[in-house]
Symmetry: C2
C-alpha cells in the first residue's frame, strides 16, 4: 500500500483516504458517490465530468489548508470531451488520477440519480403447476417397535403411500430440520418438495402458504416478483438498479472490467448477489416480520438475464462470450442450490436459471419466447426486446429465428449529449409543433406537460424513450430530413449552430432546467440514434430475408424501454419495417413474464429448454449484405423500403414529413 490522500466529494460530502494513483472514478465508487460512468472506465462517454476544487478541507473539526498538488495535465482522451464552456477545473473522473489531497465537485449532470423502475408486473394467465409444492404428513408417534426405522425413512414411505411420490430424497439442510419439526409439530409436518425429487424444507405442523420469486436481471434494472405459488398472483414487486452499473454501463464494458481487473468478476458477482439479496429482503418484508431469516419463506426462484449477466451472476468468465467464437460456458437451464450462490432464500431451494440461446441471446430472450409463445402462432410476429441490449425474435409456429443487435447504448441515452437514464428530471415525452417548431415535453416526476412559457421545471436531460420521440418529432416537423441532416433557415431560434458550427435543436432553455444549460439535440445525437435504429432495422431485414418473410403480421415491443417507447414515433423513425399502427403492440416486460411463468408452471421450464434449442440463432454481423442494409436503414425510415401504413398515418396528421415517405 502506497501513500494515501484525503479526497472529499461535494455536494455529497463523502470523504475518505484514497491510495495514490487511484482515479477519481474509482475513488467515487469506493466511497459510494453517485457518479455517472456510462462507458465503464473506457474513457469514451465523457459523462463523468467533475470539477477539481481548491480551498479548505475540514478534517477532524480542524480546518487545514489542503496541500496544493495540481493533478497531472488532462490526457488526450480527456481533451476530446472537455469543452471551453465546461469552465475551469473540469476533468474526466475516469482519467484523472489522485496525487494529492483533493476536493472534487460532481456537477448535477454527472450524477447518475435513482432510476425510475418501469417493470411492473402485468396480469398473466398461467396454468398453475409449480416445481415446488407443499405436502402435509401426519404420523402416529413411534414406539419401541419402530426403533429400527429412522425419521427419514418414515417420511419417505409415508409420502409414497399418501401422494404416490416415489424415490424422494432429502436435501441435507432439510434433513437437519426433520427431527425437531416432527416432534415440535406433534408428528404433523409440512414438507416442501422440488420437482417430485427432493424434499427441500420441513416445517412443523400444517403450512399452507408457499412463496416463489421470479427475477429479471437487466443490465440496468433488476426486478423481483414475489408470487403466491398457490394462486399465482404477484404479492409484491421490488426493483433496484443493477449494482454492477458502476463497473460498466453496458454489457461489453462489464466484460472488459472482468478482463482487466483480477478480482473484477468476483466484485461484480458479489454486487449482483448482494443486490438480489436486497430485493429478497424488501420483497418479503411485508409477509414475514419475525424470525432471523425472513427470506427463507421463499422456496423457489427463477431468473432470466442476458448472457453476460448470466455468466457474471454465476461466477462464470464472461470473456469468452465477448470474443470470437463467442462460446458460452453453458446453454441449458441450471438448478443451483440457493446456498451455493449465497442467496438468502430457503437454503435448500434451487435457483432455476433459464437456458440461453447463444453467446449473444440470453435467458431473458428465452423468457420473452415462452411468455409470448410465438411458436404456437400462425401470424408472422416480430418481437423487439430493447433493454440496454437489443434482441429480436421473428417467426411463427413453423420457425423462429433470434438475433442480437449491436444497437449500442443510444436508445438508453448514452452517446446522446443530454442523454440520461429514466430518473427524475428526465424528459420522457416530446411533441413539436409542425409550424412554430416549438416543443412541449413531459418530465419524469412532474404530472403535466410543459411548454417553454411555463417557466422553470428543472429538466435535467433526455431519457431513452424521449430520444426516439424527439427525433421522430423533429423529422415530422421538418427540422431534420430523411438523411438525418438539419434543414437550414427554418426561421426559429430553436435551431442554431453550436460553437463548432454544428446545428442543434434547443429542446429546453437553460431557465427551464436544473443544470443551467440549454438542453439540446445535436446533429451527433441524431446520427447516434440513426446508427442504433439502422442496426436494429438491418437485423430485422436480414432475418426476414433469411426466412423468406416479406411481410410482418405484428410487431411486439418488449422490455423496459419497449414498454415506454411511443409506437408511432418508433414507426416514424423506422425502427422496424412498415406495419399498421394497430399491429404494433407494447407487451411490457415479457422477459420477466417468462421468468414468472417458469416459476409457476414447471412445464414452461421444459418448454424453455426445448424452445431455446429449437430457435435458430442468426448471426447477422457476418451476413455479407449487412453493411449495405445497415447503411440504407440509417435513413428515416429506410432509403428504399416502402411504408404505406406510415405514409397514411402521417398524412392523417398533415406532417411535413409525410411527403418524403414512400407509399
Amino acid at each position: 500500500m502506497g501513500r494515501t490522500f484525503k479526497v472529499i466529494f461535494q455536494p455529497a460530502g463523502r470523504r475518505g483516504e484514497i491510495e495514490e494513483g487511484t482515479t477519481i472514478l474509482k475513488a467515487a465508487q469506493r466511497l459510494g458517490v453517485d457518479l455517472e460512468a456510462l462507458c465503464g472506465d473506457k474513457k469514451v462517454c465523457g459523462k463523468c465530468k467533475v470539477r477539481i476544487e481548491e480551498g479548505y478541507f475540514e478534517k477532524d473539526n480542524m480546518e487545514s489548508r489542503m496541500s496544493h498538488i495540481t493533478p497531472q495535465e488532462p490526457t488526450a482522451d480527456e481533451l476530446k470531451h472537455i469543452k471551453p464552456e465546461d469552465g475551469p477545473g473540469i476533468r474526466l473522473a475516469c482519467s484523472c488520477e489522485i496525487h494529492g489531497d483533493l476536493k472534487v465537485f460532481v456537477p448535477e449532470r454527472s450524477r447518475a440519480g435513482k432510476q425510475v423502475v418501469r417493470k411492473a408486473a402485468k396480469e398473466l394467465i398461467i396454468a398453475l403447476d409449480p416445481a415446488v409444492k407443499k405436502y402435509v404428513l401426519t404420523f402416529t408417534p413411534p414406539t419401541l417397535h419402530d426403533m429400527t426405522t429412522g425419521d427419514y425413512e418414515r417420511v419417505i414411505s409415508r409420502i409414497d403411500e399418501i401422494y404416490g411420490i416415489k424415490g424422494l430424497k432429502f436435501d441435507f439442510e432439510a434433513l437437519l430440520q426433520l427431527q425437531d419439526a416432527l416432534r415440535n409439530g406433534d408428528w404433523t409436518i409440512t414438507v416442501t418438495v422440488w420437482m417430485d425429487k427432493e424434499i427441500i424444507k420441513v416445517e412443523p405442523g400444517h403450512v399452507d402458504v408457499c412463496y416463489g420469486l421470479a427475477v429479471d436481471i437487466g443490465t440496468t434494472t433488476c426486478v423481483g416478483y414475489l408470487c403466491d405459488m398457490s394462486t399465482g398472483s404477484v404479492i409484491n414487486t421490488e426493483s433496484i438498479m443493477n449494482p454492477q452499473v458502476p463497473y460498466g454501463e453496458d454489457v461489453m464494458s462489464r466484460i472488459t472490467y472482468a478482463m482487466t481487473n483480477p478480482e473484477g468478476l468476483k466484485t461484480m458477482q458479489d454486487a449482483i448477489i448482494t443486490g438480489l439479496n436486497e430485493i429478497i429482503d424488501k420483497v418479503v418484508s411485508e409477509i414475514r416480520k419475525d424470525g432471523p431469516h425472513p427470506g427463507h419463506a421463499i422456496d423457489d426462484l427463477t431468473i432470466v438475464f442476458n448472457t453476460a449477466m448470466h455468466h457474471i451472476f454465476l461466477g462464470l468468465n464472461p470473456v469468452y462470450i465477448g470474443r470470437s467464437p463467442f462460446i458460452p460456458a453453458v446453454q441449458q437451464s441450471l438448478d443451483i442450490k440457493a446456498r451455493d450462490l449465497g442467496l438468502k432464500i430457503n437454503p435448500g431451494a434451487f435457483i432455476h436459471v433459464l437456458p440461453i440461446e447463444a453467446g449473444f441471446v440470453g435467458a431473458d430472450n428465452v423468457g420473452v419466447l415462452i411468455a409470448q409463445e410465438q411458436y404456437f402462432q400462425d401470424d408472422m410476429v416480430l418481437i423487439i426486446d430493447i433493454g440496454t441490449n437489443g434482441e429480436l425474435l421473428l417467426g411463427n409456429k413453423d420457425r423462429v429465428c433470434s438475433t442480437s443487435c449491436a444497437t449500442g447504448p443510444a436508445f438508453e441515452g448514452a452517446q446522446i449529449k443530454f442523454g440520461m437514464r429514466a430518473a427524475p428530471g428526465a424528459i420522457e415525452k416530446v411533441k413539436i409543433d409542425y409550424e412554430t417548431k416549438e416543443p412541449r415535453y413531459k418530465v419524469i416526476g412532474k404530472a403535466d406537460w410543459h411548454t417553454h412559457i411555463e417557466g422553470k421545471i428543472n429538466a435535467k436531460g433526455i431519457c431513452g424513450s424521449a430520444i426516439i420521440d424527439v427525433i421522430a418529432e423533429m423529422f415530422k416537423a421538418g427540422i431534420i430530413d430523411k438523411s438525418g441532416k438539419f434543414v437550414s433557415d427554418l426561421g426559429t431560434n430553436r435551431v442554431r449552430k453550436n460553437a463548432e458550427g454544428k446545428p442543434e435543436y434547443v429542446l429546453a432553455w437553460a431557465g427551464e432546467t436544473s443544470i443551467d444549460q440549454d438542453i439540446t439535440v445535436t446533429q451527433g445525437d441524431v446520427r447516434a440514434l440513426q446508427l442504433a435504429k439502422g442496426a436494429l432495422y438491418a437485423g430485422v431485414k436480414l432475418m426476414m430475408q433469411k426466412m423468406g418473410v416479406t411481410k410482418l403480421d405484428r410487431v411486439e415491443l418488449a422490455g423496459a424501454f419497449g414498454s415506454h417507447i411511443d409506437r408511432e414515433a418508433s414507426l416514424t423513425l423506422g425502427l422496424f419495417p412498415d406495419v399498421p399502427i394497430d399491429k404494433v403492440v407494447v407487451v411490457g416486460n415479457a422477459a420477466g413474464d417468462g421468468s414468472r411463468m417458469a416459476l409457476l408452471n414447471k412445464n414452461k421450464r421444459k418448454e424453455a429448454d426445448e424452445r431455446a434449442r429449437w430457435v435458430e440463432f442468426v448471426e447477422i454481423a457476418t451476413e455479407p449484405t449487412f453493411e449495405k442494409e445497415f447503411m440504407q436503414a440509417m435513413h428515416i425510415p429506410h432509403m428504399k423500403d416502402k411504408f404505406p401504413n406510415l405514409k397514411a398515418l402521417l398524412e392523417g396528421q398533415k406532417a411535413p414529413a409525410a411527403a418524403g415517405i414512400k407509399g
Copy 2:
C-alpha cells in the same frame, strides 16, 4: 458477562481470564489444557483431579500475591472420589468452580496424553470399481460455426459419444472450472465423474491420479486412509484423537453434552469437522506440496462411525437416539456435498456416509459387516467389535443379528483405578508367575518387557487391553477366584489391603512409575471388568438363544481394542462362549476396512444399504432373561456354561485356575 478471574494451569503454563462460576474443567478446555475427563462432566469418573495451589502469580512480568479466595467446599460428588492419600488441595476439576484467581496444578495422572493410534490399514482384496472415475476428453477448438454450443453441452455430448455415459450433469463448482480448464489445457481436459451421474471436477490436460479417503471416526480415535483409486492401495494413514473427547469420553456423555449445552451439538460438530480437516491436511501433505488447497486432490470420501458420532458429525440432534424409543434421524446411506459440511476436499465431491442399522448400531458396524461378509459364509461367526462402544454381529449366510452392548467404559480403562488410554507409559501386556505371583509387564513406548528388578521404567497406568490381560493372569495365577474375589493369604506382598481394608494387587511399585505411586489392580477394578464382560457375554448368549445357535464356529475380534486384546486372556476371562483358541481370530479395524471397501467399490455401497436393512437388530436389554444371564456371566468365565476348549488350554499351561473351569 460477569466478573472474571485469572487462572493459571501448571505445569502446562496456560493462563487466561475466566468468568466467575466456570468449573476448572471448562476453563481447562477453553485454555487447551490437557486434562482427562473420561465421564465428560458427569462427576462420576474421578479422573479429573487437580490440586489448587496458592502462591505468587506472575502477571505482566510483575509478581503479585494472588487474591486468596478459597474455592467452595468440596461437593458430595467430589468427596466420593477424593482420598486422604491424594494429599491436600485436591479437587475434581469438573465440580470445583472458580470464584477467585487460582493457580491449578494438573498431576500427571490427570493428563490425557497423546493416544497411541492402533488402526493401521491391513491388505484388502477388493475388486476396484470406485464411485468416482476420471475421464480424459479432447476437443477440436470451436469455431464460429459452434457458437450456439456451450462448453457444458460440448463436454456432455462428447462423454456420451466416447464413454457411453448418458444424462450427466455438472456440479456447480465443477462448472466454474470448465471454461479455463478447456482453454488452459489446449482443449484436453480430465473430468472426474461421480456414479456416472455428475461431473464433480474439471482439470486441464490429462490427469491420471485419483485419490479417495476412507474415514473411520471412533468415539476416541479418528483415522483416515488415503487411497490411490486406480490401484486401491493405501498411500498414507493419519489419525488423531477424536477432538470431541473433551466434551465426553463416551457416547452417552456426548449426548448429554448436546442436551445440556445450547451450542453443544454445534461445538462438537465443529470439533470433529476441524479434526477431519486436520487428517485431510496431513494425509495429503506428501502428495501435494503446492497450491492453495492440497486437500482438493481428494475426490471421494467414505465415512463410518457409531450412531451418535454419525448424528453429531452431520449436525443431527443425537438426543432422540439416547432416549426411548431410540429413533435415529436417518438410517440409509447419504451422499452430501463436501462443501455443505465444510470439509476441505474437492468441494464438488460427495461424502458417502454409510448407512446405520438402528439407534444403537451404527455405520461402523455396517463397515464391519461388509468387510467380514458373514452373510456369504456357512460358518456360524460371532464378530465382537469393541471400541469405546461394544457391538456384536452373529450369524451366517442365512441370517445375521446385531446388537449393541452396554459394556461401559471399563474395557477402555475408565472406572479402573489406574486405567488410562493407550498412550506412552501405559502398561499394555502382563504376565504373572503362577508360583511367585510376580508380574512382568510391557509399557507402550518401551521395547522390552519389564520385571520389578529392572528399576524405573516410568509406568503411568494400565490400558484397556492390559486390564483384560492382568485380570486373566490374576485368575490363572490364583490371585482371584471364579467369582472375582481376591484369595487371601497367598504369602506375597503383591497382594495387600488398602486403607479401606479392600484387597488389591500391586502390579508396579512406585519406584517403577512416573507417578510415584504403586500401580495396583483393586477389587473394584475386577468388579468393573466383570460387569463389562458379563454384559458382553450375556448379549452373545441371548443372541444365540434367539437364533437357536448352540455352538460358534468362529469368533472374530475387531476394532482398535479387539486388535490388541490377548486372545487367550479374553477366552480365559470368558468374554465370549467357549471356542478352540485357533478359532479366535483378530481381524483388525474391520469398520475402517468396510469404509475402504465402500470407497473402492461402489457395489459395496449398495451391499451396505441392503445388508444394513437385512440384518436383524436385537434389543437385548428388554429380553426377560437378560438380568439372569448377566449375573451368571459375571463369573470367570461363566457360572454354568461349559468351556472344554478353555479347560484343555489352561491344563496345557498348568495354571491353578484350570481346575475350576468346567470341561
